[in-house]
Symmetry: C2
Subunit: 119 residues, 2 copies
Amino acid sequence: MRARVVEDDRGRREARDACLEPCPIERGMRIIGGKWTGSILWHLKDGPVRFNDLARMIGGASKKMITERLRQLEGHGLVRREVIDSAPISVTYEITDLGRTALGFLDELRTWSEGLPQG
Amino acid sequence: MRARVVEDDRGRREARDACLEPCPIERGMRIIGGKWTGSILWHLKDGPVRFNDLARMIGGASKKMITERLRQLEGHGLVRREVIDSAPISVTYEITDLGRTALGFLDELRTWSEGLPQG
DNA sequence: CAGAATCCAACCGGATACTG
DNA sequence: CAGTATCCGGTTGGATTCTG
């Protein structure tokens, strides 16, 4: 199993493979519609955020989930990971220019959702 | 189990319960981000469609899924179900005015997805 | 601090067969 | 035609523990 996956890409490869849907709406949803994915991207819009800060902002999601979703977003080039080798270590996540192109949609979704009958 | 659910609402009640996320983005995603949900809504934009026609349009989704998602959309008031009691029976699904309010960002998502590096 | 590793119950969703 | 019913393997995601 996992034949010929030489480099450990920490989920980046699978991130791509998961989005082979022919329908563009489905493809898009599989990229930014995952649990917590939209929220994560949204919370990065004002600048880089450290891992634990992000986890706190997304209250309700486990670190495991945050990590998985971040790897996936990285795999799609929507988020950049940066390691500052201080002590203690610091890792920040920053939205890329490509990632920013999704914020319009997310904002519309947010507005729509807030305007729904049941709040 | 299922205490006090007297009327059989065919999944409509659960549809609502599933969307109690405090974050509006997550809530929105749980409503239209389900597998096939966006596609279904999208294919209803030009008028009522019969069940089997819809199933054909969404090639790849099973009838079971189409049904489940339609019930969910109905529960959120985004789709209306209409039975024409002919022989053989005919059932059409039509997008509601509320449902139409989602077409804007679904179109944005479509455009966004199509413009991505990997197509 | 920023994860990785492991466990496991719950849910998801496809395949198939059946029905009014 | 428009579903429902059942089975069931695979995935999801929370909880917990461990690590450089």
